[in-house]
């Protein structure tokens, strides 16, 4: 958008893509000429490319081909390595690698001992080298598709990535011939993927991004204000709520069925387990699309074939506990951001596990009806959750690919990105039915980064005349009331300052929780004289970077108006998510 003015064009042959690099799957995307992000399929036709590498007699297999080697050639197959990059051996959790090449300590880093050459020798290959090979394969698939050599990328990383991991990833990519222009966080990439669609309207909203993956789930609460994103809180889960836990439910179910018929447990044998695991995952995916799915494995154990079917209802019953864990994880993340579920405007479901219909349904029940749940089973126009990160990265890549690397580094430096955010909403007291009382109406939401400006038009008393406009801070409160007493039309019995509500929710029939505004500090008053009958007042608030506030009030459509400035507020440290 700002490319022409921002940077002198660097070497013109930069071709940048977006890469989403996950423990389980990776994907690649580019931005087409019309500015639309498209996911690239590799030679095998996969858009979700398993992050797996496998070696047979010196030949390298990648993606789905490598994944199927987990059965016959597990010792020379490397999987689930992303989270090991840039870490020392003592701090990693090797559990996911149980069924493939095991990670081991190697100097200050993690490595795998595999036969990756034609000879029988075991080679020590560091996780960084594995990452390089993986990225090289991803870039080459993209190059083949685009017909141009891909030499740069924006890569997505989890929110809890360390500086060491960033450096390690950048170096590993560089060795693969890919310059990392920028690393962006997975949740913001997902938000960007939605906001960059032509039909999207940029609005101030609180978004929960639930990235439900294979071996981990990450939740981030994002405040989107004028298209600028701030992360308010993050949560991570590696044990109770991710794709592998759902696979395990199916593995156990089918294993029990097999035991009943054949008296042997396929989970006890490594190869049988590997086969069952691959097939259970396929069955799980089928259950996200259809009401019924089959699971069949040739020669599962003791040379006996296994074949069975399961319907979705049964699966949802078996996996109920795991589904509950997803909901709880999201609920906790909202609480951690000091928010209520009523504050959430949108939930973006991202990551492969988000295809599961039951998870979205549970969230629909958790959140009020006004909250939009963006997932394939709840919204027909939702973007494929598996591709969100890659799309976001591709869009960012197209925005920054013409900048100099130094420019990008400087502008993403904390000096630029650490910014004061408003603690409370700023709004206007406007008229209610009762002329004496006002209703608070928010104009600038809390957690808006400054500088910012917002303009709103507000009704005044019907008769017009001279009116007073009060600019105040507003505090959101959750009001709990009994059903019979609840009046949505903003006149709660108790307190005059508690007025109006945006939404209501009847979670449990007898109790209604709603959002109400409590008026905080009055910031300023402005008198507007001689407003026409039925006229409206336009209020414009500008908060400067130094927290000075400028207010302009005029009759809508009129000239002149009242202007004023407020004293600057202080900034307090802390609060960064």
């Amino acid at each position: 958008m700002s490319s022409q003015e921002e940077g002198e064009l660097s070497s013109p042959e930069i071709t940048a893509i977006g890469i989403s690099f996950g423990n389980s799957n990776s994907s690649i995307a580019y931005t087409s000429g019309e500015g639309k992000a498209e996911v690239i399929a590799n030679e095998e036709g996969d858009r979700q490319i398993p992050s797996v590498l496998s070696y047979i007699e010196g030949e390298e297999y990648h993606g789905t081909q490598a994944k199927s080697q987990l059965v016959r050639n597990s010792k020379n197959t490397v999987a689930y390595f992303r989270d090991f990059l840039g870490r020392d051996f003592d701090s990693i959790d090797p559990t996911p690698c149980h069924a493939s090449a095991h990670p081991q300590k190697h100097e200050s880093t993690v490595a795998f001992s595999i036969q990756d050459q034609e000879s029988d020798a075991q080679n020590i290959v560091t996780v960084s080298e594995i990452t390089t090979r993986h990225i090289r394969r991803l870039a080459s698939s993209a190059s083949d598709f685009l017909g141009k050599k891909v030499n740069a990328a924006v890569i997505t990383v989890p929110t809890n990535v360390t500086e060491e991991q960033r450096v390690a990833l950048s170096e590993a990519a560089k060795k693969a011939g890919v310059e990392v222009l920028q690393m962006i966080l997975e949740p913001t990439a997902a938000v960007l993927a939605y906001d960059a669609r032509p039909e999207a309207k940029i609005k101030d909203k609180i978004i929960v991004v639930a990235d439900l993956g294979g071996t981990r789930s990450d939740i981030a609460i994002v405040a989107s204000r004028g298209g600028i994103y701030s992360i308010l809180s993050t949560s991570h889960d590696y044990e109770t709520a991710a794709g592998v836990q759902l696979d395990q439910v199916l593995i156990d179910h089918f294993a029990k069925e097999f035991i009943k018929k054949n008296k042997t447990d396929p989970r006890k044998n490594e190869r049988s387990m590997a086969k069952l695991k691959l097939e259970a995952e396929a069955t799980k995916k089928a259950l996200s699309l259809g009401g019924n799915a089959s699971c069949s494995v040739e020669s599962l154990a003791n040379g006996i074939d296994f074949s069975s079917t399961i319907n979705r209802t049964r699966y949802e019953l078996l996996a109920g506990k795991v589904f509950g864990a997803f909901t709880r994880l999201i609920e906790e993340a909202v609480r951690k951001a000091d928010l209520d579920i009523l504050d959430v405007d949108e939930v973006i479901l991202s990551g492969g596990t988000s295809h599961t219909p039951k998870i979205s349904q549970n969230l629909q029940r958790l959140f009020p009806p006004t909250t939009r749940i963006l997932s394939p089973s709840t919204l027909p126009t939702a973007i494929d959750p598996s591709s969100l990160s890659a799309r976001g990265a591709a869009i960012q890549a197209s925005l920054v690919q013409e900048f100099e690397k130094d420019d990008i580094e400087q502008s993403t430096h904390p000096m630029v990105t650490v910014t004061p955010h408003l603690r409370n909403a700023i709004g206007v007291m406007v008229v209610s039915e009762d002329v004496k009382k006002g209703l608070f109406s928010a104009l600038v939401e809390k957690e808006t980064a400054v500088p910012c400006r917002r303009t709103g038009v507000f009704a005044v008393p019907r008769d017009g005349g001279d009116v007073i406009v009060k600019i105040c801070e507003g505090l959101r409160e959750i009001k709990v009331s009994k059903k019979e007493k609840a009046k949505i039309n903003g006149k709660p019995a108790s307190d005059d300052s508690e007025l109006d509500s945006d939404d209501e929710e009847d979670e449990e029939a007898e109790e209604i929780r709603e959002k109400v505004w409590k008026v905080g500090t009055v910031l300023a008053e402005a008198g507007v004289k001689g407003v026409k009958k039925g006229g409206k007042v336009e209020v414009r608030i500008k908060v400067e970077a130094d927290l000075g506030v400028q207010v302009e009030v005029r009759e809508a459509g009129g000239k002149g108006g009242v202007r004023g400035t407020l004293e600057k507020a202080r900034v307090v440290e802390n609060g960064s998510a």
Partner: protein, 53 residues
């Protein structure tokens, strides 16, 4: 609300309070709106100056 009787202020504007202290947070360096924000910050331009360009 209706202007109360006898309310007056210089140029009809009365400044009363000030904002609560703001919180320092990190904004995500992503998306076109961030780039616009960053450009303003770097060139120390205001919104209206930026609009004119």
């Amino acid at each position: 609300p209706v202007l109360p009787q006898g309310w007056s202020a210089e140029k009809d504007f009365k400044s009363i309070g000030q904002l609560s202290p703001a919180t320092q947070r990190n904004i995500e360096p992503v998306g076109p709106h961030f780039l616009a924000h960053e450009r303003r910050k770097r060139h120390q331009r205001t919104f209206s100056e930026d609009d004119r360009i």
